[in-house]
Symmetry: none
Subunit: 188 residues, 4 copies
Amino acid sequence: MTSSPLRKDAARNWERIVAVARELVDEGTPLQLNDIARRVQMGVGTVYRHFPTAEALLETVATPTLEALVAHGEKALAEEDPRDGLTGFLTRTVEAQVTDAALPPVAAAPADALPRTTELKRALRSVGTRLLGRAHDAGVVRADLASEDLVPLMCGVAFAANVHGEAEDRVETARRYLTALLEGLFIR
Amino acid sequence: MTSSPLRKDAARNWERIVAVARELVDEGTPLQLNDIARRVQMGVGTVYRHFPTAEALLETVATPTLEALVAHGEKALAEEDPRDGLTGFLTRTVEAQVTDAALPPVAAAPADALPRTTELKRALRSVGTRLLGRAHDAGVVRADLASEDLVPLMCGVAFAANVHGEAEDRVETARRYLTALLEGLFIR
Amino acid sequence: MTSSPLRKDAARNWERIVAVARELVDEGTPLQLNDIARRVQMGVGTVYRHFPTAEALLETVATPTLEALVAHGEKALAEEDPRDGLTGFLTRTVEAQVTDAALPPVAAAPADALPRTTELKRALRSVGTRLLGRAHDAGVVRADLASEDLVPLMCGVAFAANVHGEAEDRVETARRYLTALLEGLFIR
Amino acid sequence: MTSSPLRKDAARNWERIVAVARELVDEGTPLQLNDIARRVQMGVGTVYRHFPTAEALLETVATPTLEALVAHGEKALAEEDPRDGLTGFLTRTVEAQVTDAALPPVAAAPADALPRTTELKRALRSVGTRLLGRAHDAGVVRADLASEDLVPLMCGVAFAANVHGEAEDRVETARRYLTALLEGLFIR
DNA sequence: CATGAATGAGCCTTCATTCAT
DNA sequence: AATGAATGAAGGCTCATTCAT
């Protein structure tokens, strides 16, 4: 009844798969479970057991980033200035989207493959809502900006930066776009 | 032998293909030349003769909208107020992107399939540049906003609206997002 | 009842087609009637009227070379030495096969598309037979060498030279191979 | 995960495919992977998994013959008379080319699909070179005959025999042509 | 005669998913 | 649990040939 040693094996496999998937995402290669199985030297079946779909794997790859964003958001709630808190959070979010190719599709997807993802996205919206609420309460933000707009807007900014150019200054560009947008969202 | 404007029957086929493609685009179905051939009851070869790739067809579908945008842009140059001119143009652009599903992929694509598309996109950027130039000259717009940013930003706004919800209020949402952004772009 | 002016047109078209086909053959491009129609700026139908199949066109392209070979063969009959006559003829034949890419397929084909080709190939075999006959009569050639072997052997030599290398020394190589073969065919 | 020599069932499929391919080759039908899949009653994917291209399959079909030729060549090295050794080897080679329709395209192809084929062709050239070397050393062969000429010449002889007639006496014809050629290659 | 649009069989290839081993 | 062979629908594209204009 002790946790069998297979557990360890399985865990290692899981890690290997995710690691390789991360590499593929980083180099812009579309995730295909067959392809991954070959690269990690496992049977397709094994990969499928761990990740029933490519989306599930992608979401898993994106998870750490999502977690970090949530964590950052929580911290931002401790900021003195509501405006700075919200700004910092949104900036981080946009940077993450532009930096981590796993994020945009996960963030924009209407449906999730993993419960964990749903949970994290909810948590993210939740901090966003709270941060925005503080800003609203302080009267520093446009009244017609709802918390449901935050994610779409961040996706939009990241998307715009990607359209701008495939170059390496996308973070730069994204920040510039976000700055302009925030300028419009906040009340002076 | 003279490259005539297309024979009557061929022209009819061309129209049928484009019409069906437009329907598919509207209902969100991805364009596939084989699929289209089946639907229009023509041999695949016929469709391929008219449109060598799905992109070419998509661009053809998008063409009227692009033309309308360019036309509107030209008119906007006649506006008294540089700010109104630019705003009107960008609004139309965003509305078009949200309204016509053929536009976003064409607008965001780094390469075009048809010369006509390249031409239209160039024309569009051109009016945009001129409208922005007037605004710059009048000192009503952020100095760091370059004309190369216009297209990406409009794509971003439209994308954000699409992420927000698949519902029918996307135009509404897009306008709202654009308003906020413009608020940030223009100098008060 | 006078030969209509269309004749002239048609003749010019015919020439254009053959000229372009020759170019294609020379550059190793496979002959496709559609392709050719585009290049000569004619309707496919026109090309088809002149040449019902690609083979017919290829044979037409090969015709002048075949005629030259026949002509040379006739002259070779006038040579004093039967051996020299045959040798010269075969050398020319092999050179032609290696030099003119239209020849090998036509020579090796079991069936012809054009009567003219059949005629020429027959004429060629005929001179070959007569030249070989003279050599036989003079007792300078292996008894088991039949006139039906001449064409295949020349095709074989050319083919060998082509296999040897795609380089430009194929004529050279072909001559070397033919020399060796002739050494074996003639009696010393 | 260890690249095992193939699972039992997979091996059976492999054999079936190769067997059917061999039949097709023998009856002169061009190899098409889809066609084969249909004939062996397997999914196309299965055939593609085993043989990525038609060439790979063709080479696989040709492999046993190539192996036999190499084996024969090795034995020929043991022959007393260098001339007999070389003659025997070349005869076998030509016979194989005329007998096995899989051989000519593989032999004449400038590039190979399978490493095994490259290996075998190299081995074949190698024995050829050694056999020719012995003949050269014994001074029984034309000085201008290089080992690179062997393959082309054998291909040429086989080709000539095929041109001669599609009949069943091609082996006969090929032998006759080879005899004549050898007569010219060896020094009396 | 010339034109060239239309045809559509036919070939190639990929990939998500299942399932026997 | 792991494996990886098998599947086959699906999509892409070409090209020889016909025939209405």
